[in-house]
Amino acid sequence: MTQDRAPRAKRRRRWKKLVVPAAEPRSRRRFVVQGLALVAGGAALLVTRFRPSAWAAETDRVPVRPPTASLDDAAFRAACIGCGMCGTVCENGCIRYFGADEATWGPLTPFLDVRRRSCTLCMRCTQICPTGALSPVEDDMETIAATVDMGVAVVDPDRCISYLGRVCGYCHDACPLPAKAIRLVPPAKPVVMTDGCVGCGRCVELCPQFPTAIDIVKRRLG
């Protein structure tokens, strides 16, 4: 204690010199007026110049949510507190978030844009969720195939290159559950097996057609 007394004393002096009382009656009115003016100025700047970058909805569809989220999107929104843990642990960076000003789909709630980046089914998000909006699933492909249902892939034969007469099959090659979720009929036409598809979106991400010929659609309840 004793050996650092000298620098402490110096610090003490420094602070004593610095302190200025603000709330003298004389200056109080000035502080109130300048405070109101600054707040008003800042708010005006924010309102007139700043446009929040609202997430622009690209489709009217219900967004794909992380694995084990309730198929009833309202129920998921009610259970999610928007803490952001799922996106932190996501090994693939596929979990994105709506903005804090999102009105329709819940502010700061997670979603997946599978066309840009799809889910690798690592199940970390389900294990860390503190609220039960996602329920824990073991990282094991059989368990995942049995429990996860983020949606189901739907092929549009009018856009699919294989249906149009060439041979593609990218979606089948990308699928983590081949022969369970998707199969090819000759020459290479993809057929999704609705019962086996977990909706991870690998096929959507890798579809070489633009606009994509395969997409994830959430199942309806019941």
Partner: protein, 521 residues
């Protein structure tokens, strides 16, 4: 409180200070490191969001030296400290900020995990007071570092004496909770500095955004330069206010060892207090965070933590590391993008007609590594069809739908320029197939987020125009918008601090730090 007598002196003042520095460093390192490791483990799959959103790759010098393979994943698996947007999980124990999560709690069913997450910080406050502010809060570290840097400048900005009464924070706490109930959670992040730090780091490394919240943080620091870096914590912070409420009945805190041993009009501990409290009175009150900052300044070592109250300090080196981590992505040299960049991926249905559009920026992409020439321009593809998809036949194949193949008109409307009209007589892609059903064209127009793509009405098919707005790549507005938010936030925070400082003290309450004559020596 003065009755608190403890046999033995326990830790010395500086031991408390160093213990506090340790937890502060741990908390700050977690905030910075946890998302960084999250980004590292993604490197072999993709780039870190902050680079990917800008269309860059990680610089080769960095990438070449990074251990990749399964090592990042192993390191991440071994990590037991996770930090999210408003929550953390340390050693599998979840914790949520009580203010930011309060509105969500109203609509969420209670589970044991959630109860722990919300209960822990409040329990901690109920027992130990605002220890979060002094010992863990990442903004606290930045604020204290700012204060110490200011104190070392040759020219000193004035340090305002904080009033004892701080009514404005109750207004902000109530307002933040009320606003987030309405659903505008942005306002909550605006007023919670520790979440601003966490969100900034987190969004920059993992989400490819964070510009707006970084602006708020910059604004708050700027306001702190004028009115005192820690004035916000003391007079306005809603989390501090909530913890103050929880700490009204706390049992552990800072107290005087022997009140009679105090020098008259000494008040050195009062002037050392970063929250503007009065440990010299023997009871600094529920706002005291036991940071122990008043311990080493006392000439008689008369302060200690007793079962019945404490406090904290600055870590310029760690703060500099944080700033460096934030500045590193900005300093990295951006290179020409080499991956196709998905600008728009839209599908809408109107009266049973499906209109799908895709816009992909191919600039800089090489279809073959040996080719010397790279692709240029943006590829715009459209598809219009109607009718239900139908049921699969016995082979699983789906029937074709009725696809529109007539003339199509599209208009691109840049946010600040003249619209560009495009038209097709018939679909032209894919080539060399029996069916040609997609309208595709390479366009040489600069497309920015916020621009509109409008598909004109088609007689007999589409009754009205179908439009899309090009979404932002990340959540980040540009650097200009960040500065704008920073300026606005600085003005608002300065105004609020000015109002908070104008609140008069109770008559005859604590003595001012300087004598009434104005010369403090």
């Amino acid at each position: 409180m003065r009755a608190a007598v403890d046999p033995g002196r326990g830790w010395s003042g500086s031991a408390w200070v160093w213990a506090r520095r340790l937890t502060q460093s741990l908390a700050l390192v977690t905030i910075v490191l946890a998302p960084l490791l999250g980004g590292w483990q993604r490197l072999d799959r993709s780039e870190m969001a902050v680079f990917a959103a800008g269309g860059w790759d990680l610089p080769d010098t960095v990438r070449g030296r990074l251990p990749l393979g399964d090592r990042p994943t192993k390191a991440y698996d071994a990590l037991v400290l996770h930090g999210g947007g408003s929550a953390v999980e340390y050693l599998s124990v979840p914790v949520v900020d009580p203010v930011a999560g309060s509105a969500a709690l109203l609509r969420t069913g209670l589970s044991w995990k959630l109860a722990i997450a919300f209960g822990l910080p409040l329990l901690l406050a109920a027992l130990l007071g605002r220890v979060f502010c002094g010992w863990l809060c990442p903004f606290g570290v930045i604020a204290r570092a700012t204060r110490s840097v200011l104190a070392r400048l040759p020219w000193h900005p004035p340090v305002w004496r904080l009033p004892d009464r701080r009514p404005l924070r109750w207004l902000i706490l109530g307002g933040a909770v009320a606003i987030s109930v309405v659903g505008v959670q942005a306002a909550v992040f605006f007023f919670l500095p520790h979440l601003a730090v966490q969100q900034t780091v987190y969004a920059y490394w993992l989400l490819g955004g964070g510009g707006a919240i970084a602006g708020v943080l910059l604004g708050l620091i700027a306001a702190g330069l004028v009115f005192g870096p820690t004035a916000y914590c003391a007079t306005l912070c809603p989390t501090g206010a909530a913890l103050n409420l929880a700490a009204r009945g706390k049992r552990v805190g800072v107290t005087l060892d022997d009140p009679k041993a105090c020098g008259k009009h000494c008040h050195l501990c009062d002037s050392a207090c970063w929250l503007g409290l009065h440990p010299a009175s023997g009871d600094p009150g529920p706002d005291c965070d036991s940071c122990a900052r008043c311990f080493p300044v006392c000439p008689r070592d008369n302060l200690r933590v007793a079962v019945g109250k404490p406090r904290r300090r600055h870590l310029p080196v760690v703060a500099a590391g944080l700033l460096l981590a934030l500045a590193a992505p900005a300093a990295a040299q951006p290179r020409a993008p080499t991956k196709p960049d998905y600008l728009l991926n839209g599908e809408r249905e109107l009266d049973g007609v499906t209109v799908a559009v895709s816009m992909v920026d191919q600039t800089g992409v090489k279809l073959d590594l040996d080719w010397s020439e790279a692709e240029q321009g943006i590829e715009l593809s459209l598809f219009v069809a109607r009718g239900t998809r139908g049921d699969a036949d016995e082979r699983g194949l789906l029937p074709a739908r009725e696809v529109y193949t007539g003339p199509l008109e599209v208009e691109l409307r840049p946010a600040g320029g003249d619209p560009v009209a495009l038209s097709w007589d018939a679909p032209n892609s894919p080539v060399s197939t029996q069916g040609t059903e997609i309208y595709r064209r390479r366009i040489e127009v600069d497309i920015e987020p916020g621009d509109e793509v409008v598909v004109r009405a088609i007689p007999g098919w589409l009754a009205r125009d179908v439009r899309w707005t090009v979404p932002a790549a990340g959540t980040a507005p540009g650097a200009g918008a960040t500065l704008l938010v920073a300026a606005a936030a600085a003005l608002i925070f300065m105004g609020l601090l000015s109002l908070a400082l104008a609140v008069p003290d109770r008559a005859g309450a604590a003595q001012p730090l300087r004598g009434p004559d104005g010369n403090g020596s």
